[in-house]
Symmetry: C2
Subunit: 211 residues, 2 copies
């Protein structure tokens, strides 16, 4: 059983110290470019310039552009989830849910609603283009949804949420509201839609709260 684990990433050991640094620099530059201009709008020469590396370095570390894109998907998922912690891991009250969503709204306002959601944008662009990216992004959304569901489940276990509440469905609904709200807000350049969307779903969750 551990054989398969070792096979998963055997070449990781072959990365030297400066190599790891270069690899990381490439991913960060690519993630930034792809967030602002889309995957299709980001060329390898663009990444070269932004990361100050040569073409051979990119191909050395990622094989081809698809490989780089997959690395960016992982990076953005880790980054986005990390930046939401510790709020994300403590979504076990209505107030916590609201505060968490408000934080995202304020951050979006701060950047002028440019760019939408890092993961959602990648998902939309890659879903029909790159099958392995699609499955990776499905995992990303699962990782995002899990702490929401866990928080709701904890509320339910504590008896604060009705047994009739389907916490899995509610977590999915909230994530969907976030994604759809972000998209509308990006297009409209106003977080109003995002705020209305998450507010509606959280209000609905609140209706299951046991007074």
């Amino acid at each position: 059983m551990n054989a398969s684990v070792e096979v998963e990433k055997p070449e990781r050991r072959r990365l030297t110290k400066p190599g790891r640094k270069t690899r990381e620099r490439i991913i960060e530059a690519a993630a930034d470019l792809m967030f602002h201009h889309g995957v299709g709008g980001t060329s390898i020469p663009d990444v070269q310039a932004a990361a100050a590396v040569s073409a051979s370095q990119i191909y050395h570390y990622f094989g081809d552009k698809r490989g780089l894109v997959l690395a960016v998907v992982d990076f953005q998922t880790d980054t986005k989830l990390d930046q939401q912690r510790p709020l994300l891991d403590n979504l076990d009250s209505i107030d916590a849910l609201r505060a968490w969503c408000d934080t995202a709204a304020d951050r979006q306002d701060a950047m002028g609603c440019v760019g939408g959601c890092e993961i959602g944008s990648l998902a939309s662009e890659l879903a029909e283009t790159d099958p392995s990216a699609r499955t990776d992004l499905a995992v990303s959304f699962d990782r995002w949804e899990l702490p929401i569901r866990s928080g709701l489940a904890r509320m339910q276990a504590r008896g604060e949420l009705s047994e009739r509440a389907d916490v899995a469905a509610l977590a999915t609904a909230l994530l969907a509201a976030i994604q759809g709200g972000m998209l509308l807000s990006q297009v409209r350049r106003s977080t109003t839609a995002y705020r209305h969307a998450v507010s509606a779903v959280i209000d609905h969750i609140e209706s299951y709260v046991i007074a």
Copy 2:
């Protein structure tokens, strides 16, 4: 009031009968390709082949690729709104809202959850790429949201919905749930997320219904 209509497209008169037909064929082919492979994944030669036209015809009718994309945005908006009628114009009961959303879910299931929402996909890909496309898509979403809000407003005017309900916010929330649900469903290849998302928001709307 009809003056503005005539001013809107003054060169339309210069399109000859076969010209209009060719133009339409190009748009339909481009819309289909861009839906399945994205705007960036659709080249002019691709459109040429699919529509059986020469390059000069595309440039004759649309100027450049951006012009074609804008035409596709308009076409997809008109098409999507039309295909939802007459349900879309009669969203003035909870049952009507549910039936309308179910129809979309069933259609999505029928195509294996491939492609997501025609408008949402364009929006995500073009929002930061093409400013005029972004504003066009903002209008598209407005056109979509309006009949939802109108239906809710009618319910409220009839006294079926509490005065405390913010019908504009609720309409936005439902549209966001649709978009986010579609995106999650596209990535997961299952309409479960879409169904949960719209169900949550419609349940919330129902909480404002006056028994």
